[in-house]
C-alpha cells in the first residue's frame, strides 16, 4: 500500500483543501504510515460479517412534519462572513 503524490492531489481536490507540493509530501508520508497501521484489518476474514452501522438498537422515531423554528433568518445569517441582510454572499459564479 502506497499513497503517491498523485493520489494526495486527488484526495485534496475531493476534500476541497488546497495542498502545495511541500504539504503534499508531508501528507503522503503521514498517510502512508497511518495506512500501514490500518492494513492490520486485512488479517481478518469478514465475508460473512454484517457491517455495524449503529450501536443504538432502536428504530428512528417518527414525528409530525411541522415547522418549529419560525422567523430565524436573522439568526441564521448572523455568523456569515459576508452577508447582504437577506442572503449569503459568495464570489461570483455566473459570468
Amino acid at each position: 500500500m502506497s499513497i503517491d503524490l498523485k493520489t494526495i492531489k486527488h484526495i485534496s481536490k475531493l476534500s476541497r483543501i488546497s495542498v502545495d507540493e511541500k504539504k503534499a509530501e508531508k501528507l503522503a508520508g503521514d498517510l502512508n504510515s497511518i495506512f500501514d497501521f490500518i492494513e492490520k484489518l486485512n488479517e481478518l476474514k469478514t465475508d460473512n460479517v454484517d457491517p455495524l452501522t449503529s450501536v443504538a438498537e432502536t428504530t428512528l422515531k417518527l414525528r409530525p412534519d411541522e415547522v418549529k423554528s419560525k422567523n430565524i433568518r436573522e439568526q441564521i445569517i448572523k455568523n456569515s462572513p459576508q452577508d447582504n441582510e437577506d442572503y449569503f454572499v459568495v464570489p461570483k459564479v455566473i459570468e
Binding site: L27, D50, L52, S80
Partner: protein
C-alpha cells in the same frame, strides 16, 4: 472560607443549600483562581463578568431545590453556548457565536449552574494531548510542560487545577477518560444515546458522547444525573429509564462479577501499568466482587477500525465548513478557490490529515476495502463485548498504556499519538459506558487511571464499582500550584 476551590461539587452544593456559602462567594473564588492560572491556558473564552452577575442574581432569589444551585461551571469549547463564542479549538470557528444552546449545557443551566467560560480542547476534538488546538497547548497541573491529555485537555486541567468544580467534556475515542487519567481526575463516557448530541460540534457522529469530569465519583454521578436526558432534537438519543445516579450510588458491590480481559496486556506496556491493574483487581476483590478472566479477541483491531470510521464520519461532518454560512473565510479568485483556501488556512494539520483519510476511505474504489471492512470489524468488536457480558457485569482495564508525556514528545508521529487511546477506543466502537478513576502514581509521581467498562445503559453499576474502588484506593492528587506566582 479561603479554600472554596478545594471543595468537591457535593460539598459546594451542600454549603450553598445550608447558606454557609453564597453562589457569589463560590463564583468569585473560582474566578480568582482562574485569573491566577492563565499559565495553564485552560480557557479559550472567559465569561467571568457575566458569571458574577448571574451569581448575584441567583443569590437575590436562590432556588435551593435545584441540583446545581448557583454552581459556576466551565465547559469544553465544543458545546454551543448561546451568545458565547464557541470555537471547537479551531481557527475556522474563531469568530462563531451560536444563536442556540446545546442540550447538555441547557440541562445544567436549568438546574442552577452558571457558565464560567469555555475550555480549551484539541481542534474539533481530534487529538490526545491538546496540542492540536488553534489556541495553544494546555499545561497539566501535575507538572510543567506535561500534556493534560486530550481532546478534553482544558477540561481535565481545569478540574485538576481547581479552576472549576466539575466540567463537561466529550469522548469520541477516549477524550474524557484519557485526560482524566493523565490529571488524576474522574471522567465518565456514558452509553451512546445517553446524553444528547444536539448543539455539540460534531466530530464522528456514531461515536461522540458528552460526559462529566470531576474530582471524585460522587460529583461525577451528580453531574451525569443532570446532563443525561432524552432529547427529540438528537435522533440517536435513547428514551430509557435513567437512574438518580448520585442518590442511588452505593459502595456495595458484593457478588459483582468483574471481567479481566487478557488482550489488554499489550506489548511494551510499562510494568507500572500492569502492577496498577493487579492492585485494582485486588481492590475489587476486597470489596467482595469476583474477578473472572475473559477474552475480547478483536481488541487489537479496534484502533485501526477507529482510524477508518472516525475520519470517514469527520470528513463528512466537516464538509459544512466552507466559508459561506459562518466561520472563517479566506479570499479566493472564485468560489472553488475560496472553499479550498478557507479549508486549507482554517483547519490545522491534524484535522486536514483526518479529513484526507476519511475522504480517501470513502472514495470510489476504496469504500469496500476500508469503510465497509471497518464497519464489519466494528461488529466483531461489539460482539466480543456482548459475549463477555454473558459472564460478567463489568470489565476492569487500565485507562491508558502510559502516564502523561511531555509537550512535543509525540507530535511528529501520528501513530504513536493514536496508540494512547488503545484501551478507550473499543468502548466507543461498541457504544458502551466507561469510567476512568485515578488509581495510583508512576515512579515520576504522575497519576495513572483504571477504567471500568459497563453494559449499555448500566452507568449506575460502573459508578458504584468506581465508588467502592475509590474508597479503597484513597488517591491523593499531587498538585503543587507550580503555575501560581
Amino acid at each position: 472560607m479561603s479554600d472554596i476551590t478545594k471543595q468537591s461539587l457535593t460539598e459546594l452544593v451542600e454549603n450553598i443549600k445550608n447558606k454557609k456559602l453564597s453562589s457569589t462567594d463560590v463564583t468569585k473564588a473560582f474566578i480568582e483562581r482562574s485569573e491566577k492560572s492563565k499559565e495553564l491556558n485552560a480557557y479559550i473564552t472567559e465569561d467571568f463578568t457575566s458569571a458574577l452577575d448571574k451569581a448575584k442574581k441567583f443569590d437575590q432569589k436562590p432556588n435551593l431545590d435545584l441540583k446545581l444551585p448557583g454552581i459556576p461551571i466551565a465547559v469544553k469549547d465544543l458545546f454551543c453556548t448561546k451568545d458565547v463564542k464557541t470555537t471547537a479549538g479551531s481557527k475556522i470557528l474563531n469568530n462563531f457565536v451560536p444563536t442556540y444552546e446545546s442540550t447538555v449545557t441547557e440541562n445544567i443551566w436549568k438546574d442552577g449552574a452558571i457558565l464560567l467560560g469555555k475550555l480549551n480542547c484539541d481542534e474539533f476534538a481530534m487529538g490526545s494531548s491538546n496540542e492540536t488546538s488553534f489556541f495553544g497547548n494546555v499545561q497539566n497541573p501535575i507538572d510543567k510542560n506535561l500534556v493534560p491529555g486530550g481532546s478534553s485537555g482544558g477540561s481535565a486541567s481545569a478540574v485538576a487545577g481547581q479552576l472549576t468544580p466539575v466540567t463537561i467534556g466529550t469522548d469520541t475515542g477516549g477524550s474524557i477518560r484519557q485526560p482524566a487519567s493523565f490529571t488524576g481526575t474522574v471522567g465518565l463516557k456514558p452509553t451512546y444515546g445517553s446524553c444528547s448530541r444536539y448543539g455539540i460540534v460534531a466530530f464522528a457522529s456514531s461515536l461522540d458522547q458528552a460526559g462529566p469530569m470531576a474530582q471524585n465519583v460522587k460529583d461525577c454521578a451528580l453531574l451525569q444525573e443532570v446532563i443525561s436526558t432524552y432529547d427529540s432534537k438528537d435522533s440517536t438519543s435513547i428514551d430509557f429509564k435513567r437512574n438518580q445516579y448520585s442518590k442511588e450510588l452505593t459502595n456495595n458491590i458484593k457478588g459483582k462479577k468483574i471481567g479481566i480481559p487478557n488482550e489488554y496486556r499489550v506489548d511494551g506496556m510499562p510494568k507500572e501499568i500492569e502492577d496498577l491493574w493487579q492492585k485494582g483487581i485486588q481492590y475489587v476483590k476486597d470489596c467482595g466482587a469476583e474477578t473472572i478472566d475473559i477474552s475480547l479477541p478483536h481488541t487489537s483491531y479496534a484502533l485501526p477500525t477507529y482510524y477508518i470510521v472516525a475520519p470517514a464520519e469527520a470528513s463528512s461532518n466537516l464538509a459544512r465548513y466552507d466559508g459561506v454560512k459562518y466561520g472563517f473565510r479566506a479570499k479566493g479568485e472564485n468560489l472553488i478557490d475560496m472553499y479550498e483556501k478557507t479549508r486549507s488556512e482554517g483547519f490545522g494539520a491534524e484535522v486536514q490529515r483526518r479529513i484526507m483519510i476519511g475522504t480517501y476511505v470513502l472514495s470510489s474504489g476504496y469504500y469496500d476495502a476500508y469503510y465497509l471492512k471497518a464497519q464489519k470489524v466494528r461488529n466483531l468488536i461489539k460482539n466480543d463485548f456482548d459475549e463477555a457480558y454473558k459472564k460478567v457485569d463489568a470489565i476492569l482495564t487500565p485507562s491508558t498504556p502510559s502516564s502523561a508525556f511531555k509537550i512535543g514528545e509525540k507530535t511528529n508521529d501520528p501513530v504513536s499519538m493514536y496508540l494512547n487511546d488503545i484501551f478507550t477506543v473499543p468502548v466507543n466502537l461498541a457504544g458502551l459506558p466507561g469510567i476512568s478513576i485515578p488509581a495510583g502514581h508512576d515512579s515520576k509521581g504522575y497519576p495513572l487511571g483504571l477504567q471500568i467498562i459497563g453494559k449499555a445503559f448500566d452507568e449506575q453499576n460502573i459508578l458504584n464499582i468506581a465508588f467502592a474502588m475509590e474508597e479503597k484506593i484513597n488517591f491523593k492528587n499531587k498538585i503543587t500550584d507550580w503555575w501560581i506566582k
